[in-house]
Subunit: 255 residues, 2 copies
Amino acid sequence: MALCWAVVNQKGGVGKTTTAVNLAAYLAQKKRVLLVDTDPQGNATSGCGVDRRTAEGDAYTVLVHGQSVADARVATAVPNLDLIPGTINLAGTEMELMSRPEREYILKKALAVVDDQYDFILIDSPPSLGLITVNTLTAAHQVLIPLQCEYYALEGISQLLEIVERVRQRLNPDLEIGKVILTLFDGRTNLAQQVMQEVKSYFGDAVSPTVVPRNVRLSEAPSFGQPISVYDPRSKGAQAYEQIAKELLSDVERK
Amino acid sequence: MALCWAVVNQKGGVGKTTTAVNLAAYLAQKKRVLLVDTDPQGNATSGCGVDRRTAEGDAYTVLVHGQSVADARVATAVPNLDLIPGTINLAGTEMELMSRPEREYILKKALAVVDDQYDFILIDSPPSLGLITVNTLTAAHQVLIPLQCEYYALEGISQLLEIVERVRQRLNPDLEIGKVILTLFDGRTNLAQQVMQEVKSYFGDAVSPTVVPRNVRLSEAPSFGQPISVYDPRSKGAQAYEQIAKELLSDVERK
Ligand SMILES: Nc1ncnc2c1ncn2[C@@H]1O[C@H](COP(=O)(O)OP(=O)(O)OP(=O)(O)O)[C@@H](O)[C@H]1O
Ligand SMILES: Nc1ncnc2c1ncn2[C@@H]1O[C@H](COP(=O)(O)OP(=O)(O)OP(=O)(O)O)[C@@H](O)[C@H]1O
Ligand SMILES: [Mg+2]
Ligand SMILES: [Mg+2]
């Protein structure tokens, strides 16, 4: 029975892909993991060193053409980490699925078929709250919210929580907020400190005690097609994601 | 005859809103400017200190319900700067416009009506390449591309140029690339230097010689609802945007 996390935040550039790729890589050191890239930018795909031009299938063929996950997935250079690639084809997905019956459940149903083959599934979402993101939230047990401690990022939280609540009421009653992960954190600025306080008072224990610092090694790793666990496991960024992966594992064991 | 720029990049968090709001504010010191917020997050709206909950109209009512720009716009605290607010209603726009004839020209036609009332129009786009962004590109004379010097941001450039080319061929033959603006620049990292070289070799003179440095004052200003020209005009971030506004003005005068 795979546990599934959707990594969601409609605010752009807050570390969704960086969080999805690096948590997937650390969790794969212990368990069997599937990473799903539902963003037309395909950043999680190149972040894992997979060439999206040669992909046989992708999240688009799974969502729109009903290709099986087993046929669309590829192995990555990281043992125990498989990937369903994301490609530009995804840009047309929302229009193509609009009139489909049960269009919000398509990803959930596709992933259910491989439920016994993975321990964890992580889904990277695009920076929007459209039908693709609704599909990722409907497929997930929990939502992981990467949050940059800046004003614009904080502004969008209420919209995000509204969508999560709507999905919970109408599509996925089991959906819960797993963790809020503070990313790109620069503790030297007052703004970051202030926003962090606000986030903690808003989310309480859901906020991971581990903050991911701004760390250039995290932004260098994708240019080598490697997660941070491979590129520079001793970096501050790596240590933070390794720690968060441990938190997720211990949360799971406790349940 | 208003000159219209669309601020576009599907990569999230690269400084689209920060660029649109602050260039609009500096241009408004000399000319009459309209800023259009087409992002459901509504960051450009709050960045100008406008409360989107009290807005009479917004980009959604203009695009989907045919409200006139004159009725939807609001004055901002900055003289000579008007705004068409962005609200969460925009999230449903692409679905609602899908079956409309000439759906890509709706924004262009709406703005044409106020063409004589402004010297400049800037449009902030959401982080995607869907129908809203196609509308902003179809309405514009030039596209401004804020670009963060990071690997994932560079990866998306070819997709962006493909869409710009497609809009130019089929919808807006006059569309040109105005400027590429390097944002959130941290010159201390090798990555930023390398990416900057690649961008300059790719875009040549289209790259603004003025680089916008990472500057915390730029991210603080929105929490006060002020452009940087008001919040901290002596900051490095303000000086960069003021300089880029001057470049845009001199480009216009040369034509
Ligand atoms: N902790 C960090 N330290 C330094 N750089 C980071 C960190 N986290 C992410 N980055 C970099 O910041 C940029 C934004 O991160 P990322 O692309 O993961 O965000 P995203 O939310 O997935 O963006 P989008 O909304 O476009 O999907 C990327 O260039 C990434 O390499
Ligand atoms: N030069 C800068 N220095 C410091 N912070 C900046 C700078 N430019 C933008 N920011 C901050 O970085 C974040 C991302 O910028 P912004 O929201 O303008 O990007 P965007 O491309 O509009 O994002 P989205 O894709 O979500 O629309 C914001 O919190 C903003 O305040
Ligand atoms: Mg991403
Ligand atoms: Mg924006």
